[in-house]
């Protein structure tokens, strides 16, 4: 019996400890990349992205932009992103509509709750964007590309 006492006490002490196993990479974002006729490209001029025409500024005058990481709204069924490219003597503006469903992602009382999304449909205007392909509909903690934006 004495031989068992020490392991039993050790087990009891360990059982009293608690750890929080929250996901370390807990950023949920939409990832997108640009290409022209199948070749990855970057937008050299300043790129500004807003939510709708008057919504929050999501990207401010970024230059040499090859990829995007943008937040989606928690509860809206469709997000509207306005992309504006400003060169020395031109200004181009395109709008992307992302239709999605939203899923609550709850891990535990001690970890932040967030929302995952599933992209259902994407539409766009054609000032400088030719088309958009949804490569991964699930928007979650993963960082692989969701949208491939084909430029004109």
């Amino acid at each position: 019996m004495r031989r068992c006492l020490l392991p039993l006490l050790t087990i009891l002490m360990l059982a009293a400890c608690e750890s929080y196993d929250c996901t370390l990479n807990n950023h949920v974002g939409l990832y997108a990349a640009f290409d022209r006729e199948g070749t990855a490209v970057q937008i050299d001029d300043t790129l500004t992205i807003t939510y709708g025409q008057t919504g929050p500024l999501l990207l401010n005058q970024s230059v040499k932009t090859a990829s995007l990481n943008l937040p989606l709204t928690y509860w809206e069924e469709e997000d509207t992103l306005v992309l504006t490219v400003k060169g020395t003597d031109y200004l181009l503006q395109d709008t992307i509509w992302i239709k999605k469903s939203n899923q609550v992602h709850y891990e535990s009382p001690d970890c932040p709750t967030t929302l995952f999304h599933t992209i259902e449909e994407v539409r766009n205007t054609n000032e400088f964007i030719k088309s958009i392909t949804v490569t991964r509909p699930s928007v979650n903690y993963e960082t692989t590309i969701n949208l491939q934006i084909h430029l004109l």
Binding site: L6, I11, L14, A15, E76, V104, H105, S108, C111
Partner: protein, 258 residues
């Protein structure tokens, strides 16, 4: 995880050491057959007793407003004072709020365990050393929520309360452990056990896995648990049977003398 493996190893060593200890106790009896004849090993009847018990830990944790508590009662048979088939029925209770997140979790649901205790102690002296095995399951409901839930980018700091009530889940797990039990007074006994729990199945909605599983504790692939049982022997005990057999022998001896 390394620490848990070490503890598991220690437990296995402990389990392995126990039969050796039992052998050590029996060896002197083999060395002295005459003595062994004189003190004939006690033979327990097939059905040596029935007992009901309650785990005091769960009730104490509930009274202390702990994060969660598993309150349970059990019934068991005593077969040959060696095998103890057990059924345990309990209610798991958890009310938890994240200190920094505002997330809440609430669950109050039943659970059941079935299994067997094996008594290593060959002497029927009221003390028992058990190896414990259980199969357990729980089908339960839980509520998760956050009253101050806010979209950090688009929400303008306006909370949109989040309520996901009545989420349904089922869980199954196995328990292995060691226990000791001793007689306190007449039919009242006190027992302690320590158990390793291995989850073998969990079915839960994608929106939110349960933080707590009734009977298992904090939801994880494995965990540890313990009980302090107050046991009431309500059936015939080994001692009663032994006393009866001794009385019968005495009667026979008297008759022979006459």
């Amino acid at each position: 995880m390394h620490g848990r493996k070490l503890v598991l190893l220690l437990m296995m060593v402990c389990l392995a050491a126990t039969p050796l200890h039992a052998q050590e106790q029996t060896e002197p009896q083999q060395a002295a057959p005459a003595e062994a004849k004189a003190t004939k090993p006690e033979k327990a009847p097939l059905l040596s007793g029935v007992a009901v018990s309650a785990d005091l830990v769960g009730f104490i944790m509930r009274a202390m407003n702990a994060k969660f508590a598993n309150m349970e009662v059990a019934a068991r048979l005593n077969i040959l004072d060696k095998y103890f088939p057990v059924a345990e029925l309990g209610i798991g209770d958890c009310h938890r709020e994240g200190a920094e997140t505002g997330n809440t979790f609430d669950a109050t649901s039943p659970y059941m365990r079935f299994g067997l205790d094996y008594n290593f102690n060959k002497k029927h002296n009221g003390n028992r050393l058990f190896a414990i095995f259980r199969y357990a399951f729980s089908s339960f409901k839980y509520d998760i929520g956050n009253e101050t839930f806010t979209d950090p980018i688009y929400g303008n700091d306006t909370p949109v309360p989040l309520y996901l009530d009545g989420q349904k889940a089922t869980a199954q797990w196995l328990e292995f452990g060691l226990g000791v039990e001793t007689k306190l007074w007449r039919f009242i006994r006190l027992g302690w056990s320590i158990r390793y729990k291995a989850r073998v199945g969990l079915s839960a909605p994608d929106e939110g896995v349960p933080y707590f599983v009734p009977g298992f504790g904090k939801n994880d692939s494995s965990g540890w648990g313990g009980t302090v049982n107050l046991v009431f022997d309500v059936g015939k005990s080994v001692r009663k049977a032994k006393a009866k057999s001794e009385a019968e022998i005495e009667n026979k001896q008297k008759k022979n003398k006459e």
